[in-house]
């Protein structure tokens, strides 16, 4: 350690700073004059119109604890520093900025004075520079022995948490879902496709899509209400097949879509892109005529092995023709090889749809061709800041006006995913050099999108329809949009944005609340509360089953992987599910990435301490047998009484700050430790029962 000492003390330097800034002003400071000039002791006690300029030494709380809440700095708390910075009350309302009548002190100099105060306003120290040698300051870790507690496993993604009566279910972010979850969703979609064989079956995919074709509301205030009901009805239709299914949402503005130049991003979610499974690739090469060369065959299989993805059929066929080199395929709808390839792609991915040409506008960008732009996070922020329903969601019957959410991004996302088919018309080859002639987009495409798609005479989801070469993708028009499965995550996201906006504007509603939403009997009013339909939105949810069999002392989860896609959440919370009444009161402390945490683990200045809740104990039962028994999960038929007082509760702990800080240090997984603390501030290992714990990330 070396110290260089200079000639003047820090206090003297501070006087210089303040005198220079005062510029000879005659300010009187309520009679105390230039208070910095009379020595350290006087400065420490100086009081300007009743306000101590230097905060007293760290305040003691009533129990004698030092009030060292994180971030407390005596300097920052001092009126002198606030005054120099121009902070309240020195912001001009009560007093002008210090020094009065002079010029502002630089940020560095304020910092210098603040540090001096933090150091206790030393009188006689000198300005010094200290170089600290590298010091090993490993603190002695005194570990308390902990009884062995197994780490609890995460529920496999896709196996849903058991949902209890009254508990909302989660619609989550498509891009944060696991393969397993998507597989189950895909199976449900395939089930509805298969019902298309019975044209009169209302449950079939085509009949569900037909509802949109015939009844969809847009361009006015029924848009959001109608689609909320539509999504719910379709979700129920899926749940008839698989009760655990919830519709996911596509958050278009996530970084992987690169909203600022979206044609270079993912364009549409990976799960909705074209790819071949190995099984389908092997089947395909056997069906092609002529059979591909060995090298080409290998290339097809490599496509599957790599799970190479294409945002549209046009890109897939161009790859086949130009990169794999298999040239026995043309854009003609009756080309048998093209048909087999489309069959294989459809069989590989239930979410892929051939009549979809995302981001393709005859060689132009969407901005150039349609005069619409792909939505950005900032766009969404602006739209969420609108303060009335008409601007946000659309006008009433006397004023059938678009709302911003409906017009753009909603319309834009239809146009974005629909796109223009480059092989419409007279294109006869997939050869790169003969890249589709630019079909210049008519200038009116944006507002006339519904006139652009042919709906009449089509047999939707039939093979002949899937092989056709229309001018535009089906998403382009509301008559055909919901035949493309990408319709759903787009509209679920629109609904999510409304749900978010409703929380900011709880009293902003459409005008006609009693209007019926055909073909159902919901009124607009019925749709205002999404909870009625049993869902909420979370980006990603991770459930750790615990079980109600016996009390648990400490809960330690396996580390929960947090992918980059999940990061950037607005809020992170730990939820305790289905906690029966506790007999004694307790705190539950949550730690993240500190598996050994216990009752002694410090809370202050511990980056792993995430938060706590306190639960009031129920106390001893004064009733007879069964009085305080946990009630059955569902009430009996015709039991319309209010909820049983012993109904188990759910609890939440907000861990946003802790999770965010830990993730910012580069770790990519979070491990939860919950410690139950009794009234004696010791661990209470024989108290808490619960069904499970979850970690949830909210947008």
């Amino acid at each position: 350690m070396s110290i260089q000492q200079s000639r003047i003390t820090r206090y003297q330097r501070i006087r210089e700073i303040l005198n220079e800034a005062a510029q000879g002003s005659h300010a009187d400071y309520g009679g105390i004059g230039q208070f910095w000039d009379y020595g350290v002791q006087q400065l420490k006690e100086a009081s300007l119109y009743g306000i101590r300029l230097i905060a007293p030494e760290a305040a003691k709380t009533c129990c004698g604890h030092v009030a060292d809440q994180a971030g407390y700095s005596r300097g920052a708390a001092s009126a002198l520093i606030r005054g120099l910075k121009g902070e309240s009350p020195f912001d001009g309302t009560q007093f002008p900025r210090l020094p009065w009548g002079g010029k502002a002190v630089s940020v560095e100099d304020i910092e210098y004075i603040s540090d001096w105060i933090d150091d206790g306003c030393p009188d006689d120290d000198h300005v010094q520079t200290i170089e600290l040698g590298v010091q090993q300051s490993e603190a002695q870790m005194t570990r308390v022995s902990v009884q062995e507690i197994a780490e609890l496993d995460l529920a496999v993604k896709g196996t849903r948490i058991p949902s209890r009566p009254g508990e909302l279910r989660q619609r989550s972010n498509l891009d944060c879902m696991s393969e397993t979850e998507l597989k189950r969703l895909g199976d449900a979609f395939r089930h509805l496709y298969s019902l298309n064989h019975w044209p009169e079956d209302a449950r079939s995919y085509n009949n569900q899509a037909l509802i949109h074709q015939n009844h969809c509301q847009h361009g006015w205030e029924r848009f959001l209400a109608w689609h909320r009901a539509y999504l719910y009805e379709f979700e129920q239709d899926l749940q008839d097949f698989d009760p655990d299914i919830m519709l996911p949402y596509w958050d278009w503005v996530m970084p992987q879509y690169r909203p600022e130049c979206a044609q270079k991003g993912w364009i549409i979610p990976k799960f909705f892109q074209a790819f071949l499974t190995m099984e389908q690739a092997q089947k395909l090469v056997g069906e092609l005529n002529p059979r591909p060369s060995a090298e080409q065959e290998n290339a097809f299989l490599e496509l599957a092995r790599q799970r190479q993805r294409f945002t549209s059929q046009s890109l897939f066929f161009r790859y086949v023709y130009n990169d794999i080199g298999y040239q026995h395929v043309t854009p003609q709808p009756d080309d048998a090889n093209r048909q087999r390839m489309i069959d294989a792609l459809l069989a590989s991915n239930p979410f892929w749809y051939p009549l979809r040409f995302p981001a393709e506008y005859g060689g132009k960008t969407i901005n150039e061709a349609i005069h619409y732009h792909y939505p950005s996070a900032e766009d969404i922020r602006q739209i969420l800041s609108l303060n009335n329903f008409r601007d946000f969601g659309g006008g009433s019957i006397y004023d059938a006006s678009f709302g911003f959410l409906d017009q753009n991004p909603h319309n834009t996302m239809h146009i974005w995913t629909g796109g223009m088919n480059p092989y419409y018309g007279d294109n006869t080859t997939y050869q790169d050099a003969c890249m589709a002639a630019c079909h210049t987009a008519p200038n009116t495409l944006g507002e006339r999108r519904n006139a652009m798609v042919r709906a009449g005479g089509r047999r939707f989801h039939s093979r002949s329809d899937m092989y056709s070469q229309p001018q535009f993708g089906d998403m382009f028009s509301n008559l055909t949009a919901s035949y493309d499965p990408v319709f759903w995550p787009i509209h679920v996201n629109v609904d999510r944005l409304w749900w978010e906006w409703q929380r900011l504007n709880p009293s902003a509603t459409p005008v006609e609340l009693d209007a019926i939403l055909s073909p159902w009997n919901y009124t607009v009013r019925d749709t205002l509360d999404a909870a009625r339909f049993g869902y909420e939105y979370v980006r990603s949810s991770h459930f750790i089953p615990v079980g109600l069999d016996g009390p648990v002392g400490r809960i330690i989860s396996k580390p929960i992987p947090v992918s980059e896609l999940i990061q950037g959440f607005r809020k992170a919370e730990i939820r305790l599910h289905w906690v029966p009444q506790l007999s004694r009161s307790c705190f539950i402390r949550a730690f993240i990435n500190q598996a050994g945490a216990d009752a002694k683990t410090p809370l202050q200045n511990n980056p792993h301490f995430a938060g706590y809740i306190s639960i009031f104990g129920h106390g001893a039962c004064y009733g007879g047998p069964g009085h305080c028994a946990t009630p059955a999960p569902r009430t009996r038929d015709y039991d319309h009484r209010t909820r049983n007082h012993n109904t188990p509760r759910n609890h939440r702990i907000d861990v946003t700050d802790c999770a965010r800080k830990l993730l910012a240090t580069g770790c990519d997984q979070l491990q939860i430790t919950l410690v139950v603390i009794g009234a004696d501030y010791e661990e209470d290992i024989d108290l808490l029962k619960l069904e499970g714990v979850s970690l949830n990330f909210l947008d």
Partner: protein, 769 residues
């Protein structure tokens, strides 16, 4: 993210019978209006630093110029959290689009609902009307026809810069106007709107035409100061909305976004004394209201114990606001008002009324600032201990604050704490406390003087302000006298007790240059909030019987969306198609598309505060025709016999004693809005003005017949201005009936206004001593 707001949130236009000439409303307290060209562009001074102020209030035909309420859009963003004016060509964003501002569209909807509204009977109706409360024109069955409804109008800054609220409806709207043939004056328009070259909006009100549809012998006649069946006037009010038009390079197209919320325009009668403020201005009333009701400044008024770390309460969070209102609210006893910014302007104001009425002179100049010394700012502005502090600038161990935690902590007490006097230390403390003790407090609204304070210096002295209250007329909810707002009384109490700052002592202002006797800001407002407040400071804040521009309805928190912004029924205020719809329709150039009509119902006969206000909902409370109330509001014989009663009936019981004991005090209403007497310019001598002290509205009596005369004569009255020939007027106090203010341009004497090169330098007080 940028937010766009229209300022002022409430603009004040004023009637005038000049169809062609107008000027722009003053935007600073006691400011002269700003001169503009025929397109509304302000005329700038030669050095381009500021606006040229109006010298002539009448056109060459002697008709009163209208005052335009000017509105502009401010942008609030990270760089300028306090807002800055938005200019054409600036980058703008909103609704998910961004681009360059190429145009601003404005939409205004004016209406006059006076004839269909309830009768104005002093304070009745302030908190709702009983079911059987009488309406004006009660016999008229078709109530809709009583509302003057010219429909909405829109303009932009490019190809449609002017629109009129006239009978024609602009070819697109079926208007409702009173029948033609009103006596003495027909009403064919409520005004017009136009944009200046910078895209700002100017709203012009009506021509001051009032008339009655009653015919036959004895008609038209006026029988009441506020309610006259058959009568209409062309006062109006209504919402002002703006839409930004941008060209987006990103998509090569035009995009639209609306500002955050509408503003409101109110049309009042001319301000004949623009440079003298009322004792209580509308700004005073609203600032006090927002402090107490909307947590507007919680470092000033907030929860007991919260002042070291004031709360932030969102006005739009009703739960948080209710919680705050239910807490123990109090004024911050540690707050120190500034003498020249906060205190002196209040004490200064009443003395100026001596130029508008005989009464102060006849009372021997009670507010005199020099000779008697009671109002000498250099005495009453001196802080306690100043002399001592000057002697020894040393420290500073003030234990008194620590032990001062007395039992009254936080109570809303208003009595002064008379501390032991130290004549040496605080030689003028007695004077400050004497002035404060003379002020009428809450609960003393009906007291002429306090007669139960034996031994007090203010025992038996009249309480101040000695001006009429909201109801000195009838026995229902009596409010005989005006009192200062709670905020004003609070800061005056702080001052009286010595808890204040003198900016001169502190060196924040220079005694050599500070215009003590014109104590209002003279630089144009920089922020939107300053603009809101500057404009409102020139409107009357009481008494509301019914008042000048607006009445007691402005004290009702229910009519506000947030401070300085009226809660609007947006189905009337907003453009008929949403901005998103305009984006959808995509025109190659900026056009105002008013294609749809959302008007399912006519303008309402009632209020719906839950939804918001409609056009005409503020001025409908005022007198019809306005000239009747304007004429009569000079003085009122306030009956001060009993505090609770305005009207006594000794005759009914032949009560000779009561008859003998009845006492009346002839009390001024609001001389700065309705002068009684004035100096009048009669000529020049040696380049100096010669004036004579005379009645301001000669030949118009304080009778109903006089009210009818005023309907046709108001525009002939003179405008009273600060004497531009006084060169050292800033530095000397006024001590008597000098000609510091005089009336000009009275009908027939317009020629007496000689051009004066010094005029602008006097009105914008020079910084040199």
């Amino acid at each position: 993210m940028s937010i766009y707001k229209i300022h002022p949130g409430m603009g004040i236009a004023r009637l005038g019978n000049s169809e062609t000439e107008f000027y722009i409303a003053p935007e600073i307290p006691a400011g002269l209006p700003q001169a503009c060209d025929s397109a509304g562009n302000p005329i700038l001074s030669d050095d381009l630093t500021g606006p040229v102020l109006v010298k002539n209030f009448k056109d060459k035909n002697g008709r009163v110029k209208r005052q335009a309420a000017r509105f502009q859009v401010f942008v609030y963003d990270d760089d300028t959290p306090a807002g800055r004016p938005l200019k054409l060509g600036d980058p703008v964003e909103g609704g998910g689009n961004r681009g360059k501002l190429i145009d601003i569209q404005w939409r205004v909807y004016l209406a006059n609902k006076k004839a269909s509204w309830y009768e104005f009977n002093e304070r009745s109706g302030e908190h709702g009307y009983a079911a059987d409360y009488p309406r004006r024109n009660a016999s008229v069955q078709n109530r809709d026809r009583l509302i003057i409804d010219p429909g909405p109008r829109s303009v932009n800054s490019t190809n449609l810069r002017r629109a009129s609220f006239d009978r024609s409806g602009n070819g697109v709207y079926a208007t409702t106007f009173p029948p033609q043939g009103l006596q003495p004056h027909d009403i064919d328009t409520l005004g017009e709107i136009l944009t200046d070259d910078s895209g700002r909006l100017l709203v012009l009100g009506g021509l001051g035409h009032s008339g009655s549809e009653q015919s036959g012998p004895g008609e038209p006649h006026i029988s009441h100061y506020a309610n006259n069946d058959g009568w209409y006037d062309d006062v109006s009010d209504g919402p002002v909305m703006a839409r930004l038009v941008m060209y987006s390079d990103q998509v090569g197209a035009i995009r639209y976004i609306d500002v955050e919320y509408p503003a409101w325009v109110v049309v009042g009668y001319p301000r004949f004394v623009p440079q003298i403020l009322d004792m209580i201005t509308m700004d005073d009333v609203l600032y006090d209201l927002y402090l107490r009701e909307f947590a507007y400044d919680t470092s000033l008024y907030g929860q007991l114990g919260s002042f070291d770390c004031p709360e932030t309460i969102s006005i739009h969070d009703q739960t948080a606001l209710s919680q705050w209102q239910a807490s123990r609210l109090t004024w911050n006893k540690d707050y120190k008002p500034w003498f020249y910014r906060d205190i002196w302007p209040i004490l200064f104001r009443p003395n100026e009324f001596l130029y508008l009425s005989d009464i102060l002179a006849q009372s021997n100049f009670p507010h005199d600032q020099e000779q008697r010394g009671t109002f000498d700012p250099y005495k009453i502005g001196q802080t306690p201990g100043y002399t001592r502090k000057q002697m020894a600038k040393k420290v500073i161990i003030d234990d008194s604050t620590a032990i001062c935690r007395d039992a009254c902590l936080g109570e809303a007490y208003i009595a002064t704490q008379h501390k032991p006097e130290d004549k040496e230390d605080d030689p003028y403390g007695t004077m400050r406390r004497f002035l404060f003790d003379l002020l009428r407090r809450s609960g003393e609204d009906n007291e002429f003087k306090l007669e139960d304070k034996v031994g007090s210096r203010v025992h038996n002295l009249p309480l101040m302000p000695l001006l009429c209250g909201d109801n000195p007329l009838t026995n229902e909810v009596v409010t005989k006298f005006l009192r200062l707002t709670d905020y004003q009384l609070f800061i005056l109490k702080q001052w009286a007790e010595g808890n204040f700052i003198n900016e001169m002592e502190e060196g924040w202002i220079d005694p050599k240059t500070y215009p003590v006797f014109f104590p209002y800001p003279t630089t144009p407002p920089k922020t939107g909030r300053e603009l809101d407040r500057g404009v409102l400071s020139n409107a009357l804040g009481g008494a509301f019987c019914p008042g000048a521009e607006l009445n007691w309805i402005i004290r009702n928190p229910s009519i506000y969306w947030e401070p300085y912004r009226i809660k609007v029924d947006r189905s009337w205020s907003d453009f008929l198609q949403s901005a998103a719809q305009a984006n959808q329709n995509r025109q190659p150039t900026s056009v105002i598309e008013e294609l749809n009509f959302n008007i399912e119902n006519p303008l309402s006969q009632d209020n719906d505060f839950a939804v918001g206000l409609q056009p005409g909902d503020l001025t409908k409370y005022m007198a019809v025709p306005w000239q009747a109330d304007f004429n009569e509001c000079t003085t009122n014989p306030n009956n001060i016999t009993y505090a609770d009663w305005n009207n006594l009936y000794p005759g009914s019981e032949n009560d000779q004693r009561l008859k003998r004991e009845e006492k009346v005090w002839n009390t001024l209403w609001w001389p700065a809005h309705r002068p009684l007497q004035s100096n009048e310019l009669i000529g020049f001598s040696n380049g100096e003005p010669v004036t004579t002290w005379t009645t301001w509205s000669r030949g118009i009596q304080q009778t109903h017949a006089g009210d009818l005369k005023m309907v046709s004569e108001w525009w002939k009255l003179g405008f009273i201005i600060r004497n531009p020939y006084l060169t050292d007027s800033d530095t000397t106090p006024s001590t008597g009936p000098d000609n510091r203010y005089y009336s000009i341009e009275r009908w027939g004497s317009e020629h007496l206004v000689a051009p004066n090169p010094q005029i602008s330098s006097i009105i914008n007080p020079s910084k040199e001593p």
